[in-house]
């Protein structure tokens, strides 16, 4: 057994040598690139390795190929999938797999690999599996399996034979193909994972299926990849890729230690453009999967509920000047969530720069010349923010509005001020926001501007109630009681009144013809079915602890429904329309969704809660001999990825 292992190791080593050209005398083609510091290689975690898993060290059924005209500069292509068919309701997807694909140890890649991996992801063994970052949460019974209520065999994934995989979903997903491109869509090698569950992913142990294999890795420093000798498929001529984490990118490039380097600031950009050699090696592209701007802070001060005030502020910013003078030409002015020249952006109206109109709106809002308006606060983090300083200055000069800048520690800022549902301690004002697409999921085309739907577009009083309900949901987990029928009485009374409200909402959705929205909130088990089931379990419970627990859970169901009804009824009309269009968009194929996305985005943008200001450019220098370098434009970007297309010219 031991000698067999040694023999296999020798064979792999020799084949690597042959491929690397050491033995046959060819010159080894080595490319060094900057990369995000990668803390491990487990592909399903939302860390730098998830980008590496997408087409470099792993491959899934589908992947990305370069397409400069498309969103993110990519198009979705079949990789391990040969063909697929989908049921009419978009809930059952059947994939035929290629038969020539192999793992790096020579094992064939089969549908069973996908079945096992997806069941492994669903199992309670990985309690911190970031299900939001992939398609698994939509697979039939995923959450029941994850919580241990159902056996993993009940998950809606099945290998019908070695090369046919069926995925059944709990709800229609028209973009499953697109979602399978992400790292969580790749299969893992069962034998190696089971043989060493804690260390299977380490270089030297990892069995992967992408065009390159990691052979060394030092977090904080670098990683080395070499060609996977078993790989079947399109691949460039680069033998070895060294990914370097951190350091001075441009200086490493100048010293010949990197083949490409990102330009990180205006000073570097000017330096590069002034240098005769570097300027010829300069490249740039727009980061179309993002928008940068500001959002109204997520507090409860009603002063920002005044739409005319928000509109006036949005129209009083000279975006051209900002991009030219502050951002030094490293960004484009952006007055809509998507820029002109894109399929969505071409259909959207932009926010004009019109100081007179803005002044008029401010006066109509009740604050002529900014008089009577309290001092607002623009929350930032870090050493300073020239963009925010410019915006604040524009508001002062153009509208007479006073805004002070307040600096907050970064962890608190991003967690509690920018991306929190609500920030009770925030004063009336703003935070910056750089809102990205995570991938080509349909919901991502709204670039998080749909936070306007989730958290902004209610009057302040409703936002406060929403927040209080969230607190109450937490409080239910700790409440004492639930041992007697008397404790249930108020819950039943509440349930009955909520039933009336729920029926009214369903009727309202019928009346407006918003069937997708209705289908979503009618999906079983309905809230009152859950409540009744918990009550039955409470009656059968044998211990006080169980009784209290079921009562607590039932209380949460009631509070959750109450929160839904209050926020549904309190929602502003444009927000309701946008919400309904959002349901329509996510219930059709990706290409079709793009055609109607502006019906969601325009009303959201016109509420001016989240305001686009500029679109950043990715800028880099690149070895002229290097071809096929793909820019990663999704969140985490800019950076480079999908290295199988790399070619190094002689």
């Amino acid at each position: 057994m031991k000698s067999k292992k040694i023999l296999i190791s020798v064979l792999v080593f020799v084949s690597l040598l042959l491929l690397s050209g050491v033995v046959n005398g060819q010159k080894e083609r080595v490319v060094s690139l900057p990369y995000w510091d990668t803390p491990g290689l487990i592909p399903y975690y939302w860390q730098a390795q998830h980008i590496l898993a997408q087409g470099t060290i792993f491959e899934g059924l589908f992947g990305y190929a370069p397409d400069p005209k498309n969103i993110g500069g990519v198009k979705v292509v079949p990789v391990i999938a040969e063909s697929f068919k989908v049921s009419k309701d978009y809930k059952v997807w059947t994939f035929k797999l290629r038969k020539d694909k192999k793992w790096s140890n020579g094992d064939p890649i089969t549908a069973k690999d996908f079945e096992w991996t997806f069941k492994f992801y669903a199992s309670p063994k990985i309690p911190d599996f970031p299900a939001w970052a992939g398609p698994h949460q939509f697979i039939e019974n995923f959450w029941a399996v994850k919580s241990g209520a159902l056996d993993p065999d009940k998950l809606g994934v099945k290998a019908l034979d070695d090369y046919t995989l069926e995925i059944r979903l709990s709800q229609p997903r028209y973009d499953l193909k697109e979602q399978l491109c992400v790292a969580q869509g790749v299969p893992l090698h069962r034998k190696s994972v089971e043989a060493d569950p804690d260390n299977w992913w380490r270089p030297g142990k990892i069995v992967c299926n992408g065009p390159y294999i990691p052979i060394s890795w030092t977090p904080g420093k670098d990683m080395t990849l070499v060609k996977n000798p078993r790989y079947v498929g399109e691949r460039g001529n680069v033998d070895k890729i060294i990914l370097k984490f951190g350091g001075l990118g441009l200086q490493q490039y100048q010293a010949g230690e990197l083949d490409a380097a990102m330009i990180g600031n205006v000073a570097e950009y000017r330096y590069v453009m002034a240098d005769p050699k570097l300027s010829k090696e300069f490249h740039e592209d727009i980061m179309d999967c993002f928008w940068n701007g500001y959002q109204i802070s997520r507090g409860f001060d009603p002063v920002m509920d005044n739409k005319k005030l928000r509109q006036a502020l949005a129209m009083a910013i000279d975006r051209e000047k900002l991009c030219k003078e502050v951002l030094g030409g490293r960004a484009l002015p952006l007055a809509a969530y998507w820029p002109k020249g894109t399929v969505i952006g071409d259909k959207m109206k932009e926010i004009p720069f019109d100081v007179k109109k803005a002044q008029q709106l401010l006066a109509e809002a009740g604050y002529p010349g900014g008089k009577g308006l309290k001092t607002l606060v623009f929350y930032i983090t870090g050493g300073g923010d020239p963009v925010v300083e410019f915006i604040v200055d524009q508001w002062k000069k153009n509208l007479g509005v006073n805004v002070i800048i307040e600096n907050i520690e970064s962890g608190l800022y991003w967690n509690s001020y920018v991306w929190a549902s609500f920030t009770p301690e925030a004063k009336a004002g703003f935070t910056v926001i750089g809102a990205p697409m995570n991938n080509l999921e349909i919901g991502a085309i709204f670039k998080n501007s749909d936070h306007t739907l989730w958290f902004f577009d209610y009057p302040a009083s409703i936002r406060k109630k929403y927040y209080d309900f969230m607190q109450e949901l937490d409080a239910w987990l700790r409440k004492e009681g639930g041992l007697t029928e008397a404790d249930w009485k108020p819950l039943f009374e509440k349930k009955n009144s909520l039933m009336e409200g729920f029926k009214k909402i369903l009727a309202y959705l019928d009346q407006r013809g918003w069937k997708e929205w209705k289908a979503d909130i009618s999906r079983p088990p309905l809230w009152y079915e859950q409540f009744d089931e918990l009550y039955e379990k409470w009656k059968a419970a044998k211990t006080d602890a169980d009784k209290t627990n079921y009562w607590r859970l039932a209380g949460r169901v009631i509070t959750d429904q109450e929160m839904f009804q209050v926020t549904f009824n309190g929602r502003n009309e444009p927000s309701k329309v946008a919400y309904a269009w959002r349901y329509k968009a996510v219930n059709r194929p990706f290409s079709e969704a793009l055609k109607i996305a502006h019906y969601v985005l325009q009303p959201l943008q016109d509420q001016y809660w989240m305001v686009p200001v500029y679109l950043a450019k990715a800028q880099w220098v690149q070895n002229p001999k290097l071809e096929g370098l793909m820019l990663y434009k999704f969140s985490w970007g800019p950076g480079f990825f999908n290295f199988k297309y790399l070619n190094l010219k002689d």
């Binding site: 959450w143 919580s147 904080g220």
Partner: protein, 320 residues
Amino acid sequence: MGLIKYIIRRLFTIFLSIVIVIIITYILMWFAPGEFFNIAQFQASAGKVSTLTPEQLQVLIKGFEEKYGLNVPLWKQVWNYLKDAFRFKFGPSFSNPNEPIEVQIARRFPVTFTLAILSMTLAVLLGIPLGIIAALKRNTWVDYVTMFFSMIGSIIPAYLIGVIMVLILSVWLRWLPTSGWESPKQMIMPVIAVGLGPLAVIARFMRSSLLDILNQDYIRTAYAKGGTDRAIIMRHALRNSLIPIVTIIGPQLAFLFTGTVFIENLFRVPGLGQLFVNAASQRDYPLLVTSTFILSLSVMLMNLLVDIVYAFLDPRIKYE
């Protein structure tokens, strides 16, 4: 025997101090804004929790809390942490669930340790002679030049020195690689960048300490007895003037174990600094507590070492 007893007593004090530090850290994190202990981490991992039934949600939260030891009251969390920490078991971190914290530290600590020791060696080997020369040639151009450069060394941040070195030595002259941590050549710039600050401090302390000693009565007596400069400085002045230097070297070295984050990032040195700094911004409470543990332990052990070295430098010091 006195020394051994002293060390045992000090180790016990260190143990108690660390327990107190960790308790305070937990309490501070509990009150700090930013949801250190909230299940927000779980929600981020779970995704659209609204699609879960309440029971499923409860089970999932429980699984998550168990993995990170959050399923018990705070006092028990502190107890569990301390119990494991003194065996150098720190569990998983929020921000990097790939491997336990102790594995991450075990990989990074030798790098940081090497960087810190090499930098401090450089600082001591150059700082002490420079301080001596400046003191002996006080108020001459030698003194002024030495102190001017030591002042520059102490006020310019290490990362700026690093950037300047990369520009000159790597980009323009191409003598050294810009970054990395495999070969001695790659270590030169990070060691200099980290070492210059302590070097400047040591040189200045050495100068003032030696000047102070040289003005003492017993030195005057030694001169009166006909001793030469060389003999008096080597036998009487130098040894005594080293005591304050040892005092500052200990804590400086301890802070270098965790405080070289900019240099690590600049030169791609895979050390502890980056790991610990990210812990705070990412609200990674297991890693944050561990960084406090490691830093406290380093400072206290270094102080113990310094106190032991005192005895060798000054025989009058007795351990009781």
